[in-house]
């Protein structure tokens, strides 16, 4: 199955190159067909790889440069179930977003398709690579496509400024990652992940490794929109076309989280295996902080896409905390969370696209009651929001349940309570917005919410039924993610393999395949009592938050001042954002420098 | 292929790099800045040669003498007009 590995990257990129070279010769129809076929093929091959990776990791050595006596000469793609699943998820989102855009993105559709394909290829490469510099290359390609897509609507200032802030902050992140890579190279003289881990095993971690850890993690955290490195995300999301937001929220942010886990379990687990305490505590604390700040900011938005963007930040925080527990069960939870969240949040963004197109506005207050005669769109919005609560057996439930169970096993009993509140608050804000727009409930003024400038609709005569269909497919996939038979044991086994550094290294460097173990049943997921309780609790929180938002609209004076301070920090000035990144790096680096052995 | 090099030359080139980088970053006038960054690019080129990296030096040279100045000058020209 090794031959399939380059295809999810190569096919979209080749298609993009062909589309540019025949740009002015072929009709638009052909272009759209090529783009959708290419992304569909990439998706199909990603799924093939995912199936093949169930028994053992699938490898592909580019150029045929197999390792020579355990020394990696070339670049490898190493697909384990998680990596292959991330590639499948990313390419699936590209595929669906391209179909949705068939009529939605009429203007300059060729370049749009080209950039989407490049984005998809880069995300697939990022998921599959087993080489740290190759990761950097895909990180940058992902970035370049994303910056251009974020600024796609150049007729307005917002998108351009959002894209600028996005580009500058993420470029700084890339340089930090590259510096971290250089330090690892100075220490080991190697770029292959498995082999770096092998080299570092047994040695005491020196300062080179600690600083490298800091720089690489923070660079990835910027991509993953972790507080205080998250500021670019809302600016970029609010302004980008809806199908692009699907990729940003559904895959790009999660890939940042994913690679933190990847690089920890292949490289940094080796030197820090005995004393992971400081890494664990800091990641969990930052993750929880992100989750709460994201939920709070989400509640304060009236611009629907901005609201969804902050809820993405909140969920990204929960994911980081799950990774930070450094435990295979929580990791399985994070994987399931990523899966369900991607489809639900993607679907919600597509609903925003429909709202913007049909109602010519995206502001909750101004649209009050305007969506009363759009039942299908409204129902989709509520279903998507419902999936993000964590109600037992719906949407993100399985992911949250596993994550919570892992946290409780590790003695972090307070994590499930916080995730319940945060997920409930985000979903509550979505309920509130939905009730106001589609039902006309609540006050027609709310001073608490941040006003935002208008956004112009993209297209006027798009084919709505097609867009409904794509949106419904995404939300439907997200809703059933918790009841897929056999998903739970498979994700747990996959994460056990993911955290097994020595097995990964011997597979990559010596080709030794460790077999997957006994056959897994196709059972419906079971749930512990506590996760059922937390899931139901989240629903209550969500309803309460929605009710407060609709009819109360006030917060106690005590929290008003800190609220204003947090809101003020989201200034839109790129210098501020860079300052947060640099300051955050200095603080986190100092903490690790003093506490890691 | 050894490119003749001596340690003092490396040291001088590196220190010049640090100084020129500082000048580029702290110069507030964009036009003066693009001149400085051209000089900085040339110093980097020399530094790369002393570090035995002719390929990299060549890349830096073509980028710093053509690509950067053209693009940046055009951008400066465009953003200047309306400001007056």
């Amino acid at each position: 199955m090794s031959w399939a590995l380059p295809l999810p990257v190569a096919i979209p990129l080749l298609a993009a190159a062909l589309m540019v070279s025949t740009d002015h010769l072929t009709p638009r129809l052909v272009h759209d067909a090529v783009a959708i076929l290419a992304s569909g093929a990439a998706l199909a091959f990603s799924l093939v790889i995912l199936l093949a990776s169930q028994s053992h990791d699938v490898l592909h050595w580019f150029g045929g440069w197999h390792p020579d006596g355990g020394v990696a000469i070339g670049i490898v793609f190493a697909a384990d179930p998680f990596g292959a699943a991330m590639a499948s998820l990313a390419t699936a989102l590209v595929f669906l977003a391209l179909i949705y855009s068939l009529t939605y993105m009429r203007e300059e559709s060729r370049s749009f398709d080209v950039l989407m394909l490049g984005f998809g290829g880069a995300m697939a490469g990022f998921s599959l690579t087993g080489d740290i510099f190759n990761m950097f290359v895909w990180f940058e390609l992902m970035g370049v496509c994303a910056y251009a897509l974020a600024g796609f609507k150049i007729e307005e200032l917002g998108p351009v400024q959002g894209a600028f802030n996005f580009a500058v902050t993420n470029t700084l992140a890339a340089y930090m990652i590259l510096t971290g890579i250089a330090l690892l190279y100075a220490r080991t003289g190697i770029l292959n992940l498995a082999q770096i881990g092998h080299e570092l095993a047994g040695d005491k971690a020196d300062r080179l490794v600690v600083v490298s850890l800091t720089l690489i993690f923070i660079g990835l955290m910027v991509k993953a929109a972790i507080v205080p490195f998250h500021f670019w995300l809302a600016d970029a999301h609010a302004a980008a076309p809806a199908p692009v937001c699907v990729l940003f929220s559904g895959a790009m942010v999660e890939l940042g989280i994913f690679f933190i886990a990847r690089v920890y379990w292949t490289v940094f687990d080796a030197p820090f295996h005995a004393h992971p305490g400081p890494i664990k505590v800091l990641l969990v604390v930052i993750g929880m902080l992100t989750m709460l700040v994201g939920a709070l900011m989400c509640f304060l938005q009236r611009h629907l896409k901005r609201l969804l963007a902050y809820s993405t930040i909140s969920h990204a925080g929960a994911m980081l905390a799950g990774i930070g527990l450094l435990d295979s069960k929580s990791l399985a939870g994070v994987a399931n969370l990523i899966l369900a969240h991607a489809f639900l949040k993607g679907g919600l963004f597509l609903v925003c696209g429909l709202v913007l197109m049909q109602l010519k506005n995206i502001d909750e207050i101004r649209l009050r009651g305007a969506g009363r005669d759009m039942p299908i769109t409204g129902v989709l919005w509520f279903l998507g929001s419902l999936g993000l609560v964590g109600i037992p057996y719906v949407g993100i439930f399985l992911g949250h349940g596993l994550l919570d169970d892992g946290a409780i096993e590790h003695g972090y009993g307070w994590i499930p309570a916080l995730t319940m509140v945060a997920a409930g608050t985000c979903a509550g804000a979505m309920f509130r917005a939905g009730a106001r727009v589609f039902l006309g409930w609540g006050a027609d003024e709310d001073e608490l919410l941040s006003p935002e400038p208008d956004e112009n609709p993209q297209e006027r005569d798009a084919k709505v039924p097609l867009m409904w269909a794509v949106t419904a497919v995404m939300i439907g996939l997200g809703l059933v993610a918790s009841i897929v038979p056999g998903l739970e044991p498979r994700s747990e086994r996959a994460s056990e393999r993911f955290v097994d550094r020595t097995a990964y290294a011997s597979r990559v460097l010596h080709g030794i395949a460790v077999h997957g173990g006994p056959h897994l049943p196709f059972d419906l997921p079971s749930a512990t009592g506590s996760s059922l309780a937390y899931g139901s609790g989240a629903l209550l929180v969500a309803l309460a938050v929605a009710a407060i938002g609709l009819w109360h609209g006030r917060v106690p004076r005590l929290v008003q001042a800190p609220l204003d301070a947090i809101r003020d920090a989201h200034s839109g000035i790129v210098g501020d954002y860079l300052l947060w990144i640099v300051g955050g790096t200095a603080v986190i680096g100092a903490v690790w420098a003093f506490t890691l052995p | 292929m050894i490119i003749a090099t001596i340690a003092p030359l490396q040291a001088v080139a590196l220190i010049l790099c640090a100084l020129a980088a500082t000048a580029v970053a702290l110069c507030l006038n964009p036009l003066r800045q693009i001149v400085l960054s051209g000089i900085y690019g040339l110093i980097l080129t020399i530094t790369f040669v002393t570090l035995q990296a002719p390929d990299v030096a060549l890349s830096m040279l073509v980028v710093t003498t053509v690509a950067y100045p053209l693009v940046v000058l055009a951008a400066i020209g465009r953003t200047r007009r309306k400001q007056k």
Partner: protein, 114 residues
């Protein structure tokens, strides 16, 4: 001398970031980013340098002659290309932002966006 090159790399990184933070002009900011990126060139090449070794080019030289690390050089080459493209993209965004607002000051831009 042992740590001069690394110190210079750290210094360049910091100067570039500082310039970007306090910048009042988007184009100036883009050039500061290139300065930050150039620190990675110096760092990578300094890591791969070996005393009394030549460039990794074996034309007219016997194989086995000491040569500096070729891998960091190929990484730096990639890095330079990336730098040019990102700067071009950032500058394009700056020019378009100016088109809309008539300013290239990040603070003013943010206040216009509201």
């Amino acid at each position: 001398m042992n740590y001069l090159a690394f110190g210079v790399a750290a210094w360049i990184f910091c100067v570039g970031v500082y310039g970007a933070i306090v910048s009042r002009n988007l184009i100036h900011l883009a050039l500061c980013l290139t300065v930050t990126q150039s620190s990675t060139y110096v760092l990578l090449l300094a890591i791969g340098y070996k005393h009394h070794a030549g460039a990794p080019i074996f034309k007219g030289v016997k194989l086995g002659t000491p040569a500096v690390d070729p891998v960091v050089q190929s990484l730096t080459l990639t890095d330079i290309v990336v730098s040019v493209t990102v700067v071009a993209l950032v500058l394009a965004l700056a020019v378009v932002a100016h088109e809309h607002s008539g300013t290239v000051d990040p603070d003013e831009l943010a206040s216009m966006e509201g």
